[in-house]
């Protein structure tokens, strides 16, 4: 047991990463924050649409998109990666819809069938390609991801200045675009998520927004994929959004809480991983889950107290963005 859990050395765990290994730590934590933010923001909308497990499905099947794109173009540059991921993501959604609408199989089975089949095909292709030659995608990385490799990437140079590891920059761009997108189309996303019937009556094309969200989801997940892996990307999608939903019924507050959750869980998780010498991405998700457990406990305790102290529920202005009881 002593070997498994090393002694907690305050200097090694908390101080040293920032004094001695700053250049290393900063990129890992930054990547964690960016992944948590981008995934969490999309996750909020997934949760509202009860599509959390569609996110799970897409993040699995993206492997197939990546390997097929690699086999066609023989390299994994950003555009190729994005194209493959996008195709795989939309294909997954389309297959789920096809099975669900054209057959008597229910939607939960349809999700399960679609992503396990695509994922299995992806893993098989990766194994076959590996025996033929070196592949940049490896099936284990799909599961765990290796966020600790991020600082080791050759940095992108801008003139003489080293900007940072490409995957962090890519994630930053994706996160930035996502935030701008949410700010610009806040109202549309809100209405189509909460009340598709109202959205239709207002002339919004719900199908377009649905597939738009799926596109954003695919791009976010593929950017996060290398560093956190497919299954932990699911955690990044669901856990921050659940944390936020547990604390507030109000969507804008939730979005901000999500970002806060991403920052805290990335920092705590990084230090946890140094302490326990385990996967950093895994540790970040563990911390994120503990944060949710904390929020859960707080709300449960608050619910036990007499109701008299609670403030009156949302005013008229807020109610547009407030979850129905």
């Amino acid at each position: 047991m002593n070997q498994l859990i090393p002694a907690f050395d305050f200097h090694r765990v908390v101080i040293a990463p920032w004094t001695e290994g700053f250049a290393f730590s900063i990129w890992i934590v930054l990547m964690g924050v960016l992944v948590g933010t981008a995934c969490g923001l999309v996750g909020n909308y997934l949760l509202l649409r009860r599509m959390a497990l569609v996110g799970d499905a897409i993040s699995h099947s993206i492997l197939l998109g990546l390997i097929v794109a690699f086999l066609i173009f023989r390299h994994v540059d950003t555009p190729v990666m994005f194209a493959g991921a996008l195709a795989a993501g939309l294909l997954t959604v389309a297959i789920i819809e096809f099975i669900h609408k054209q057959t008597r199989v229910k939607v939960d089975s349809a999700i399960c069938i679609a992503f396990t089949s695509l994922f299995a095909l992806g893993v098989t292709l990766v194994s076959l390609a590996e025996s033929a030659g070196p592949v940049h995608i490896d099936a284990d990385c799909v599961l765990y991801g290796e966020i600790a490799l991020v600082p080791l990437e050759p940095p992108i140079l801008w003139g003489q200045v080293a900007l940072g590891p490409p995957s962090v920059l890519r994630m930053a761009v994706v996160t930035g675009v996502l935030i701008v997108g949410i700010l610009c189309f806040y109202k549309e996303l809100l209405i189509t998520s909460f009340d598709p019937a109202l959205a239709k009556s207002m002339g919004l094309k719900t199908g377009v927004w649905h597939y738009g969200l799926m596109t954003a989801l695919s791009l976010v997940v593929v950017s996060a994929f290398e560093s956190v892996g497919a299954i932990l990307a699911v955690a990044m999608l669901i856990v921050p959004a659940m944390f936020a939903a547990q604390l507030s019924p109000c969507l804008p507050v939730r979005l901000v809480l999500t970002i806060g959750h991403a920052v805290i869980s990335a920092l705590l998780g990084y230090h946890l991983s140094i302490w326990l010498k385990c996967s950093a991405a895994g540790a970040m998700v563990v911390c994120g889950s503990l944060l949710f457990a904390l929020a859960w406990a707080v709300t449960a305790l608050r619910a036990r107290r007499p109701v008299s102290t609670s403030e009156p529920e949302s005013s008229g202005l807020q109610s547009a963005a407030t979850l129905p009881g």
């Binding site: 089975s109 396990t116 194994s127 099936a139 669901i238 659940m242 326990l276 563990v286």
Partner: protein, 479 residues
């Protein structure tokens, strides 16, 4: 299903003496593809026998459990549970730093049941929806598992733990202990399902009714969850954490497409599970180093696709084919009806119907009419005479034409007289119903309408005598 037990016991008996020699498939020397296929079918390698028997047992237990998951809409529960067992696997491994099947089984089962309990707790005590609860358990347990596995890999000897085989599965790594465990779980699942088949059936489809007749639906739900956890955990070594849910859901969903009876579905699902398990083991064996889990899942997907496309009742292709042949039949019947109308206009004086008149009546090009006439002729409804310019009813064609016209006019009459439709609203409706009215309904309509002779437009309704007269010449001219 009962007949399978002796066969399984027999297989196990064949395997028992081989325990001592169990070699890993990966240790095999280089051999050609065909040679490996031959080795597969002659079952030369003891490890292959374990892999095959293990895959078959796995197919049965997963198939049975999966059928209940699919009908209870719990497919994603299996996904969540299969990921949630990972920390249990790691802890079971830590027990004495070996892949002791029993320790791992216990650890993983406990983790799986904890996960299932947590899903229930989140659903009961928060406003989070079921999908979020499932996703949360899936992801957070898996994260704990990833942390534990990476910690184990730092330990001395942890690197060779073979825990990574639990991710995608390697049937070749199945040992005698794993196969015995699979056998035990499979027998348990079969026995419990057979013993409580009726209870499972009722609680799966109508929990409220089950409770009202005194069946503890909740207890059976938990029994099912425990059996599910057993099935998942015992299959981990062969299929892997990530894809166990596929082996549960896909064969069962394929069976669901083929039958409406739960008993039949259980049998089919188990058969599909066995087949896909064996096929997956075969390909994993033939193409060395390929992980078994994905191959099994691909085999299962192939079965599902076949059921999806070709299933006799719910298959997409068969439905499309039925739809197509029905519209073709309706097209032919409409043509027969027009021929009847043309003859009727002339007071049934002749037997031949000029194609030109038909084209005029249908406002179509004569070439189109010729094409359709050829289709009618190939179905034995008309003969074509007068160097291809005229058509004559065969007795069959005449009979069908009369029936269609009779159905149409009877229905118009029914709508105007019994349902109080306006006269100008009845035609479209009758155009649709004329093709699907059965003889029994026609008898009812005739009785209801006092065996009327004329439709609301004053036209004669063909009677039984006309229908069986064999041709228009013998019909009495309309008066």
């Amino acid at each position: 299903m009962k007949a399978r037990h002796p066969a399984l016991l027999l297989l196990a008996a064949i395997l028992l003496p081989q325990f001592a020699y169990a070699a890993r498939i990966s240790e095999l020397t280089e051999t050609g593809l065909a040679e490996r296929a031959v080795r597969f079918f002659t079952l030369q390698d003891p490890s292959l026998r374990f892999a095959l028997v293990g895959s078959i047992l796995l197919g049965i237990s997963c198939g049975l459990m999966g059928a209940f998951l699919v009908v209870r809409k719990l497919a994603l529960m299996s996904d969540a549970l299969s990921h949630a067992v990972l920390p249990g696997v790691a802890l079971g491994f830590l027990w004495n730093m070996t892949k002791d099947p029993v320790a791992i089984f216990i650890g993983a089962t406990v983790a799986g049941l904890l996960g299932a309990g947590l899903v229930q707790a989140i659903r009961n005590t928060t406003r989070q929806k079921e999908d979020a609860a499932l996703g949360f358990v899936l992801a957070s347990f898996f994260a704990v598992g990833v942390c534990l596995v990476t910690m184990i890999q730092n330990l001395p000897g942890g690197n060779k733990s073979g825990l990574d085989k639990f991710m995608f599965g390697q049937a070749a790594a199945l040992g005698p202990g794993d196969v015995m465990l699979l056998g035990g779980v499979t027998i348990l699942a079969v026995v419990i399902v057979l013993a409580f088949y009726k209870e499972f059936l009722v609680t799966s489809f109508d929990a409220a009714f089950a409770i009202s007749v005194g069946i503890p639906a909740r207890v059976f739900h938990y029994v099912l969850m425990v059996l599910l956890a057993f099935a998942i955990v015992s299959s981990l070594q062969a299929v892997g954490v990530v894809l166990v849910s596929a082996m549960l859901v896909i064969p069962a969903a394929a069976a669901y497409l083929l039958t409406d009876r739960l008993g039949m579905m259980l049998v089919l699902s188990a058969i599909f599970g066995v087949t896909t398990g064996a096929v997956g083991a075969f390909f994993s064996y033939v193409g060395r180093n390929l992980p078994t889990g994905p191959l099994m899942v691909l085999a299962a997907t192939a079965v599902f696709l076949a059921a999806l496309l070709l299933g006799p009742r719910h298959g997409v292709l068969s439905r499309w084919w039925r739809h197509r042949s029905r519209s073709a039949r309706i097209g032919r019947e409409n043509m027969l009806k027009v021929m009847y109308h043309v003859l009727e206009e002339e007071g049934f004086r002749g037997e031949t119907v000029p194609l030109r008149d038909l084209a005029e009546a249908r406002r179509e090009a004569i070439e189109d009419v010729q094409v359709e006439m050829r289709s009618l002729r190939s179905h034995g409804l008309v003969t074509i005479s007068g160097d291809g310019q005229a058509a004559v009813f065969t007795p069959d064609g005449w009979k069908r034409a009369c029936e269609i016209v009779r159905n149409h006019r009877l229905w118009e009459l029914y709508l105007t007289h019994a349902a109080n439709y306006a006269l100008d609203h009845v035609h479209e409706d009758a155009d649709k119903i004329e093709h699907i009215l059965g003889e029994d309904t026609v008898r009812l309509l005739e009785k209801r309408l006092n065996y009327a002779h004329r439709d609301p437009h004053g036209k004669l309704i063909p009677g039984l005598a006309d229908i069986h007269s064999g041709g228009p010449a013998r019909i009495h001219p309309a008066t």
